[in-house]
Subunit: 479 residues, 2 copies
Amino acid sequence: MLMTVSASRKFENFSTWFDDLIIRARIADNRFPVKGFIVYMETGAYILEKIKNLLEDLLEKTGHKRMLFPLVTTEELFRREAEHIKGFSGEVFIVSEGREKGAERKLIIRPTSETIIYPMFKLWIRSHADLPLKIHQSVNVYRYETKATRALYRIREIPWNEAHTVHETLREAENQVREAIEIYEKVLKALGISYLILKRPDFDKFAGAVYSIAFDAWNPDGKVNQVATVHNLGKNFSKAFEIEFEKRDGSRGLAYQTCYGFGYSRVLAAIIAQHGDDRGLVLPPIVSPIQVVIIPIPFKGQEEEIMDYASEIKKLLEKKWRTTLDDRKDVTPGEKFYHWELMGVPVRIEVGPKEVAESTVTIARRDTLERVKVRLDELESKVEELMNSIISNLRERSIRMMMGLIGDAKSIDEVKKLLKERRIARIEWCGSVECAEKLKEKAGGEIRGERYDIAERPRNSCIVCGREAKKVVYVARAY
Amino acid sequence: MLMTVSASRKFENFSTWFDDLIIRARIADNRFPVKGFIVYMETGAYILEKIKNLLEDLLEKTGHKRMLFPLVTTEELFRREAEHIKGFSGEVFIVSEGREKGAERKLIIRPTSETIIYPMFKLWIRSHADLPLKIHQSVNVYRYETKATRALYRIREIPWNEAHTVHETLREAENQVREAIEIYEKVLKALGISYLILKRPDFDKFAGAVYSIAFDAWNPDGKVNQVATVHNLGKNFSKAFEIEFEKRDGSRGLAYQTCYGFGYSRVLAAIIAQHGDDRGLVLPPIVSPIQVVIIPIPFKGQEEEIMDYASEIKKLLEKKWRTTLDDRKDVTPGEKFYHWELMGVPVRIEVGPKEVAESTVTIARRDTLERVKVRLDELESKVEELMNSIISNLRERSIRMMMGLIGDAKSIDEVKKLLKERRIARIEWCGSVECAEKLKEKAGGEIRGERYDIAERPRNSCIVCGREAKKVVYVARAY
C-alpha cells in the first residue's frame, strides 16, 4: 500500500530523472560555467539551511562551540601531517597571494580544515582544564575532483559541517566518536534517510586517521552516497601540530583528537533521491519550504465564499505550519496540483463548494497521494497526525528499500550480478588489500566496510581467495 | 548619568583596547599565519550568527530568496562590465584550476558576486512575469587589501550578506534602494549602532553603479566604519550581462538592477567599538550569547539554600532569556563579576543570604553598572523592562556620542583640527574632484558624501576653492 506512487523513472534512469528534477523544482542550477560549481536556487538553499539548523542545534546542545576558520592554509601547515598531505595534495586548489613582484606565496584552499584549525588549537590548549575542546563550523570545502562531477553528489565546492574535538584520553576520544555518530543518526532520521554505518577498511580511511566510520546512504542507481564520516585521529595530528597539554598528574602529553564531517549537499541529494518519485520531490515536513498548500476549487458564483473559507483555513494552520494559499486566478486547480506535487509539499488541502457547504476539507498527502475528507474542527489535529505519519512512512519505506537492495554474494560473479542490478553486495572477506583490489577490478565495486552499529560475524571463507574470512563487508559502487 | 562607566581607554588608545578585548572576550584570534584572515572564536561566531539571523529574517520577509552562488568566476565574466573590472581587478585573489598540464585556467575569487550571479539572472529571466527578482546570500568575499589589515575592520576574508535585485522600471529600482536602506536601518537600530547614511560622491561610488548609498558608523578613533552599502546599478550590468526581458507591451528591454551588501564583521566591530567600555564588551541583549548570568554569593552554612534559590531563579528566567548560573566553586564572586563584565552580559543577578531571606534578588545592568534590588515576584517583568531599557540606552548614548563627534568646519585647517581630535567634519563643497583631492591631501580626510536621509542645503561657498557650494558633505578618515 505504501509504495503505490510510481517511482519507476528514478530507478530506470536515475541521472535523467535527477538532473531534470533539481532544475524544475528549483533545487540547483548546474549551468554555471565553472565545472563542479553549482548554484543553489531557492528550494535547495532553503533545505540546506534547514538541514544546517537541525545539525548545528544538536552540535551546540552537546557542547560544540561554533567558530569560523579561514578558507586557506599555508603550504608549510598543509605539509605537516604526512598521511594527510599524501591523501589530499592531488586535489587542492591553489591561490596566488599578492600582486606585488616577489611577494607571491602559494596558499592552499581547504579541502578540509585540520591544517587550519589545529595550529590554533596549539595556541589555545595549555592544560587539561582546556579540554575537552569541541568546535564546529559550517563552510564550503574545495576539492579538485578528477572523476566526473555530478550536481550535489560530486562537486568541487562542497557545503558541509566539520567538527573537531580534542581530549585528554583515548577513551574520551572513543566516546566522542560515538556521540558524533548519534548526532548524525538523529539528523538523518529526522529526514527519513536510511544508510549503512560502516567502518571503512584501513586502505580507505581518512588521510591521517586511526580509523574512519562512514554513513553510506542508498541511491536508486545502486551507487552509495557517503553523506557523513567520523574519524578517530588518535595522536597523529596532535603530534604533527604539537598539541600538548599539562595532564592532571602534572606531566605533559599529546592530546587525542577526533573530527567528523557532514555533507549538506549529499544529504540534500539523499532526500531527493530516496524519497522522490515520478511526480517530483517528496519532502520531509521538517525541511519543506512550504508544509501545507491550500488550493481553492472554484465554482461559479461561489468564488468569494470558497476563497474566504480557504483564507480561514490558512489562518488556522499558519500558526503552526508554513502554509501557502495558492490563490492564482490564471492557473487551473489541476496545474496547481501538478506544481505542488513537483515541489514535494507534504500536505495539500483542497476546498471547493462541497467542503464549504459541509464545513470539511479534503486533505491529500504527498508521500502516498492518499486523500481523506476531514471536518474543520478536527483539521489541526489531523494535519499534525499526518505530518508525523509522513515522516514515519518516508523513513520506513526508505529502510525497506535499502534492505531490499542488499544481497548476499558468495562469489565474485554474484557480486558482479548484484552490482549490475544496481544493488549492494554483502560478502565475507579475508581483510587483504589484494582481495579488495581484485574484487574491484573483476566486479567493479568497492569494499565499503563492515557494519559499525551491529556485529556481523563471518562464518565462511573469503569469496575472493578462499582463505578464512575475517569480516562481513558491504560492496558497492560509490559516488 | 548614563555615561557613568569609564570608557577612556577605548577613546585614548583605541587599537590597543580593541585588539586586547577581542581576544580576551573570545571574539576573534588574529594570530592565524595568513595576513587578513582571522579566526572567529565562540563569542564572535555566535554574535555574527545572530546578526545574520536578524538581517536574513528581514530580507526574507520582504521577498528576497535565499540562494547560494559559487566562490569563483571566470576571467571572461569578470571582465564584462568595464567600470567594475577597473574597480576590482587590482584586489582579487586568483586560483589556478586544474592539475593537468595545459588545463590551467585562471579563476577569480569573488570580491563581490555580480559577475557570478548575473550570468544566471540572464538564464532565469525571460519576461516581466519573472520580475522583480530579489535574491540574497550570506558568504565570504575576498579582497586583497593593500592597506594595513585590522581584525574585523579591514580583512581579506570578509563575511557579509549581499542582495541582488532585478526590476522592470527605474522607479522600482529606486523603491528597492529605499527598501534596502530601511532593512539595514532596522538591523543596526536593533543593535543600537548609530551611523550616517551618506550618498557617496561620484568618484567613490561602487564600481559599475549609478550611485551608492553607504552607512558609516562612528568609531572611537574617529575613523568611520562603513558597515553597509546600497547601490542603484541602473542598466550598467544588465547591458554587460544581457539581462533582457519581454515587457508588458510586448517589446524587449534591459532590466534595472540594484545590489546591496551588509558587512557582518564590521557590524560586529561597531557593536564592540560603540558600546564597549574599559571593563569590556557591552552587548545588546539580542545578540549576547548569555543574556542573564546568576552569581551566587556564598555564605558559610547557607551554601545549599543559596544555590537552590539561584537554581529556582534560573528556571524562572531561562524560559525567556539565555540564562547561565555561574556555580563554579573555585572562583570568587568578584572574579565572576569581572569575567561576565568583560563578556558584556547585559544583566547580572546576585543572590546571597540576604536575598534568600528577603525573597529578593539584586540586579545589575551592564551598560550603566547600576544595581537595584527587586522582589522575586516582580523579577520577570523587571528583567524584561531592563533589557528594553539597555538597548534604548545603548542606542541613545551612541547617537549622542556621534552627534558630539560631528563638527562644522569652515576651512581646511578647521577640518584638519577636527580630524586630529578624532572627530568628523561637516563642510560645504563645490562638488569637484579637485577640491576633494586637495582636501584629502591637506587635511587627511575623505569626503564621505552628503546625507541621504535628511536634506542639508549649502548656504556658503566651498571651503576649498571658495566657489559656490553645491553640497553639505561629511569628511572623515575611514577604515
